[in-house]
Symmetry: C2
Subunit: 466 residues, 2 copies
């Protein structure tokens, strides 16, 4: 018996991998096999990903057939490739035949062409057909993440016949907990949960107990929309239909969870000016990471030229009043921070489907009110801070109450502008078909900085007569 | 029949709410009821949340009992409160008796004390006991998100007896797809999926077909860990056990999805210097949003004082070479951006469980290599940019090749420092028990800014002899 809490679980994985290293060195294969069969595929995969290339094929061959396939699915793609290259054709066939179609597709998508060819050659004809069908859908579409292994029932069947059919065909299906009812033209006309089948009488007809309020997605719908449907309706599986309403596949809840996590990670990366990648951080080389970060840094560096130009054009003011320079970092940081607050909130609300473009006016109006509260409070705090800290405690030369006033008024106006830009730009980006997450912190910061400095120097030159 | 793609779905909700407004005005209650019963609870809830306070109780009473409870669960808490206040005791009892325990708990947690008292009064004694039990667990613990409605089986039962038991007791259970096997002391000793029950022979014994590689969490484990387990093992439900290994509840996958979304939103908010809130953006007042944003803006504004002090202490250098000021925004922005890239990556990897504290050295070493690649490339680009754009095209006064060199070298060193700080601080925060997400963009930016300016002026004064 293995009852494990989360914390112990992590420790166990570490402890076991040491035991396994020792047993492997001593060639105690029977004990190794016994240990591995008590473990979950996900844990074995984590351990295997950390094992040396020479030992991996040997250990993998110790796994029973079904566990081997489950483990294979969970492994990183470079370990998968290594294994496939070490497999004989018969071994490859054994693993491929145990895979679910959507897992096979996910693996094929990551492999180089010659490996893909070998996999497809070893897959049985029906599997090959299904893999190719799914591969034809565009990346990140519902069709590309669905599986074609689901249970279909007919409306005239009795509950007894349906359960018999499930018992006969269910083993290889990704889920049997929701079955789909189709008519003669393969059009989806209803669904039955296994729960309702179990709770119904044996002689009831499927058409009398099936649900007809079908929620489905089209093959070309975006995977983000697919995940949003799961989030909204708490489904365990979601049928994918073609333009004629015929069912062509299903997406299961475990895939929906992966999509949600992937999309959240993508959003976070884009919001931090990083080109998203499928690979986990520790698996990427420094050069690969550099490639996903450098273009944004370059773009933002060049666009900061405009901010520099603003300072240059007010050089005479700065020369006359060098004390003004001391407040540039605070104004720029506040502009950036307040703008990112607004953009992060709006981008997340867009991702969760809480906002649509038509809310633009409502959102901007809300941000204006927020800016008034925050801006006034912050301006007062700033005024007090400059008087107390900069003038009284630090006694910085040339900082006067007038300078404090200029800085505080600039701050309030900056916050107003940054909140409007930060909230409006993601919505506008979405409207014209860009990813709203790109309109976030770094880009908003650059724009807000420029505006902030412009306001600062205009007010300063006017008020201080420089 | 209602086959709906995602896009049509949204339109339908809008269109139907207009129809309903008209029918309501014409008092066509029978047609209203017919329309509502074809809709999904989640859609009705969205529509109800937008309906006027006076009409809501009327419309709600048109729903059949079960759909009414399902819809109630999906509604916003202010609409729920409004409805409860309009309910007679009998109506409240009818709704409460249809609720799952975990949903009842979620509702109770949002209500004011007098409403809670009414709900508990109308719940039957067993339900009341279960609600109180779950309410006793700390916020965001596994115990607080679990439900106590699951199917338990005994090891000696036959498959036939087990299915009979499920048929008898399954209606009110949150899930029947995974059943839990306990011994006489209520200790969890195994699990059986409904799939394996359906595929097994009727006379097989539960102990022979049950799985014993149980994955479970403890009642006081954090909900984030609970969600991580779902992500890793693709479960449909996860048992929650006490310190003696006795099962006290289960968490279902739909709740795990909600936790994952909640945690991702929290991370994004913290990374944008916002105090997280459970309420959706559009439901929060401007003042509430202001309260979640203002403290961070104030903190960051005050901490920018240090950056200002650095500029002040090099005031003589700035006065001698005002051209240096033009590059302050570019250096500050690059420092902030490159630091946030590192911190966002590390924070996300921590959330997904891809990183632990002991990876600190590996991570920092990786970021140093990234910084060398990115820093050198960006420094070269910056040098070229200053020469071509600032000197040649814009002809900014006093910008020389030496200035370009100072700026470029500063940029490279800044990137190195920002990457190290950005990657190390979230890991250190996690180690000492803070939320790593707090160590993100805004705070890292403030620190990176200060370091960047320090490097800039030190190099500038040394090289330019000012």
């Amino acid at each position: 018996m293995l009852v494990r809490g989360v914390k112990e679980m992590k420790d166990t994985t570490f402890a076991i991998s040491e035991t396994i290293a020792v047993l492997l060195a001593e060639k105690k294969y029977r004990s190794l096999r016994d240990i591995l069969t008590t473990m979950r595929a996900a844990d074995i995969a984590i351990m295997f990903d950390g094992i040396s290339e020479t030992k991996l094929p040997l250990l993998f061959r110790l796994l029973p057939k079904e566990l081997a396939a489950e483990t294979f699915v969970e492994m990183e793609s470079d370990s998968q490739e290594l294994l496939i290259r070490s497999f004989s054709d018969a071994e490859l066939k054994a693993v491929v035949s145990e895979l679910f179609v959507d897992d096979a597709v996910a693996i094929v998508e990551e492999m180089p062409a010659n490996v893909v060819k070998r996999i497809l050659l070893q897959a049985d004809p029906e599997m090959r057909k299904m893999i190719n069908e799914i591969l034809n859908y565009p990346d990140e579409s519902a069709g590309s993440v669905m599986t074609t292994e689901y249970v279909t029932l007919r409306p005239q069947m009795t509950v007894e016949a349906a359960i018999k059919r499930i018992r006969r065909t269910g083993t290889d299906k990704e889920t049997i907990y929701t079955c789909y009812v189709t008519n003669d033209a393969r059009v989806l006309i209803g669904y039955v949960s296994l729960k309702s089948l179990i709770l119904a009488e044996e002689d009831e007809r499927i058409e009398d107990i099936m649900g007809t309020d079908i929620i489905s997605v089209k093959t070309f719908d975006d995977q983000e929309d697919v995940a949003a449907v799961f989030l909204k309706y708490d489904l365990s599986a979601l049928p994918v239909v073609d333009n004629e309403g015929r069912i062509v596949g299903i997406v299961t809840v475990d895939d929906a969870i992966d999509i949600l996590e992937e999309e959240a990670t993508e959003d976070i990366e884009k919001m931090a000016a990083i080109t998203p990648s499928d690979k986990p951080y520790m698996k990427m080389s420094a050069l690969e990471i550099c490639k996903s970060r450098f273009p944004w840094l370059l773009l933002l560096m060049v666009s900061a030229t405009f901010t520099g130009m603003i300072i240059t054009s007010f050089e005479h003011a700065l020369a006359a009043q060098v004390a003004l320079a001391a407040f540039i970092p605070m104004l720029m940081d506040s502009a950036g921070n307040t703008g990112s607050q607004a953009s992060a909130t709006v981008i997340r609300a867009l991702s969760l489907g809480e906002l649509v473009f038509t809310d633009l006016v409502k959102v901007v109006w809300k941000e204006i009110r927020i800016a008034v509260y925050c801006g006034l409070a912050l301006a007062v705090a700033c005024f007090a801070k400059v008087l107390v800290i900069d003038m009284w405690i630090l006694q910085i030369e040339n900082v006067t109450a007038t300078v404090a006033l200029v800085v505080s008024v600039t701050l309030a106006l900056t916050i107003l502008c940054a909140k409007i830009i930060g909230s409006a730009m993601p919505l506008l980006a979405k409207k014209v078909g860009f990813d709203p997450a790109v309109m976030s912190a770094p880009l908003i910061t650059t724009i807000a900085d420029a505006i902030s400095l412009m306001i600062y120097f205009r007010i300063a030159t006017a008020v201080l007569h420089i």
